[in-house]
């Protein structure tokens, strides 16, 4: 039985989704050319797989697998500590390259972006497929990593395209071919449709993305909320999600989590870890001029079970000094003596622009302003001398001891192989090729 196309318009819009292949592992292979073609894994310091190169994936390594399991299935895997500095540089570069092709680039995550190519065929003297190919080639030539690309009429469809063929794939889904790609795709694999919704849809006999796209508007409006109605439009080739070029300034929440080895039951040390996370989260919040109204504290035990707690804060803030009391309170509730913990985390939630925070009747205004001055000085010093030039005393134990002892304590070569003039905190903002010449 032949299926009716969902739309006959081939390219009313052309949205491109780019997704780097095994991004962290690929970055490592790009700066360590001798690792090309080898199974490479990042995440050594976390004890679990953060990213696995395609060579490693082929051997059965999966994301979030514990490293000791990796050693069983793939004993020759090269396991590296994460080098987020390099990954971030690569990420920024990938977006820079995309902006050569179109000004409408949405930085969706560290290794993913949407690009609106509508109307650019003439500029580049070629089809959308050829533009995609050019982008893929440029990224590979200049950065040495491969990417997969999907081009279609909407963001949801473009994302289906980029997943369709990986690694180094290009998938074009013009209007009249949408149905061919949705036919075999389980509805739960569509961007934005979770397990609950796909279970709910199953009750109506909807199992594939095509089943869903083929439903009439009446059904969709009656049973589903707005986000799903939007996905339904997008699947039908009607673009409703714009490619938003604004850089990400709005955060729902900011979280900072860090693992340490070996696991510890030392109360002061664990609190110091938490305190350091709080300071880091606050630094980020201040960078975006945000203040948090809720604080979530959690500890992860050695057996990977979690214990956490959410606390309300009387006044939205991004100053650790104001959050230290709630943090202590939360920690005392959650922490159990004689238990080994492996990581701690802090989440700042209920974020609002710092400007819109109002003083209440009971606030000590002069104290708050004094604090604002202190932290602006702290931030100024960090900018000049590197992060954590000044720290809270409560974070001291986390500073005295290295985050990971033993072999997990390996640090990325970028942090150890320094050039003259660089230091542990501040380095030149260009990735370093690690070859001996």
């Amino acid at each position: 039985m032949s299926i009716q196309p969902l739309t006959l318009h081939s390219w009313p819009r052309a949205i491109l989704h780019i997704d780097a292949d095994a991004f962290f592992a690929s970055c490592e292979q790009a700066v360590h050319p001798e690792l090309k073609g080898k199974p490479v894994i990042t995440g050594k310091e976390r004890g679990i797989v953060s990213a696995a190169s395609y060579e490693a994936k082929a051997r059965g390594v999966e994301r979030a697998m514990r490293l000791f399991e990796v050693k069983k299935v793939c004993p020759d895997a090269v396991i590296l500590p994460s080098d987020y500095e390099t990954y971030s540089l690569f990420s920024v570069r990938m977006f820079e390259i995309l902006r050569r092709f179109s000004p409408d680039v949405e930085e969706y995550s560290i290794d993913e972006a949407f690009v609106d190519l509508t109307g650019l065929r003439r500029t580049f003297h070629g089809s959308y497929g050829e533009i995609a190919k050019k982008i893929q080639e440029t990224v590979e030539k200049e950065l040495g990593i491969t990417v997969s690309i999907g081009v279609s009429l909407s963001k949801v469809l473009a994302k289906i395209g980029s997943k369709h063929r990986k690694p180094k794939g290009i998938t074009l889904i013009p209007g009249r071919e949408i149905h061919n790609y949705l036919e075999k795709l389980p509805v739960g694999k569509v961007w934005g449709i979770g397990a609950n919704t796909s279970e709910f849809l199953k009750k109506f006999g909807i199992t594939t993305a095509l089943d869903f796209a083929g439903k009439d508007e009446l059904f969709v409006k009656r049973y589903l909320s707005k986000p799903y109605q939007e996905i339904w439009h997008e699947l039908n080739g009607r673009s409703v999600y714009p490619v938003s070029t604004e850089s990400k300034r709005e955060y729902q929440s900011i979280s900072k989590t860090r693992t340490f080895t070996p696991p510890s039951d030392d109360e002061e040390f664990i609190f110091a870890q938490l305190s350091k996370n709080l300071e880091n989260a606050c630094i980020k919040a201040r960078r975006y001029d945000l203040a948090a109204s809720r604080l979530i504290v959690f500890l992860r035990r050695q057996d990977f079970s979690d214990a956490g707690l959410e606390l309300k804060i009387s006044r939205p803030t991004a100053y650790p000094a104001e959050l230290m009391e709630p943090l202590k309170k939360g920690f005392r509730e959650v922490y159990k003596p004689n238990t080994l913990y492996r990581s701690t985390g802090v989440v700042l939630a209920g974020l609002m622009p710092e400007k819109s925070v109002q003083y209440t009747l009971f606030d000590d205004v002069s104290r708050i302003e004094k604090m604002a001055r202190i932290y602006s000085a702290v931030d100024g010093l960090s900018e000049r001398f590197g992060k954590h030039t000044i720290q809270h005393g409560s974070s001291l134990y986390a500073k005295l001891q290295s985050q990971h002892e033993g072999e997990r304590g390996d640090v990325a070569f970028r942090k150890t192989e320094l050039f003259r003039g660089e230091n542990r905190r501040q380095r030149v903002g260009l990735p370093v090729l690690n070859v001996k010449v």
């Binding site: 700066v31 050319p33 001798e34 570069r93 820079e96 390259i97 030539k141 200049e142 950065l143 040495g144 192989e417 050039f419 003259r420 003039g421 030149v428 260009l430 990735p431 370093v432 090729l433 070859v435 001996k436 010449v437």
Partner: protein
Amino acid sequence: MSRQEGRFQKFTLTVNNRSPTITFMKDGIQKERLKSRSNAISGFYQQTGRMPSFSEIGEILGLRSKNAVSKLVSRLEEINVLERDKTGRLIPGSIAYPVKILGTVEAGFPSPAEEELADNISLDDMLIQNRAATFLLKVSGDSMQDAGILPGDMVIVDRGQTPKSGDIVIAEVDGQWTMKYLRKRGDKVALIPANPKYKPIIPKNELKISGVVTAVVRKYG
């Protein structure tokens, strides 16, 4: 006429023409706005070689009503920034001269700094052409010492450039990484060291060039 004299003359001109800088001083807060508006009109004049019409002034400055434009024009007329001819069309006054307002200096000698800084590029801009394709590399060997590249030096590598004969390149030859001069003669390719201790390399199986060295940086102390 030397450059220095030229600048001094320009400055004198400013004073003679009752430049906006001086007149505006009296107007307190409105000063800045008027200054930026007259700068915008001046910019139009410098670019197009003619004065804008009233409606164009409105467009440039985001003024919707002609009345507002007309008020502004009379104000600028008062201070000789522009004039009107017999038909009512605008002719340039003091904005005709490309006078640079030199910093905050309103009398005495102009500061040379402000004027010169506009044409400077940073060390980054000088060393890096295509930022997205630029990598660093720490040199470990001495095979390029006669080219002035020593162990420990930082070289800047551009992966986006197409290598030409004579470029210093980072290459992979038969599984080994190396930095050498690239020499192409016809379809023959050789990698030439800059140190008599080493021999030229002629790739047997494979040569992959992963970037062109565009600069070397050495920091002392």
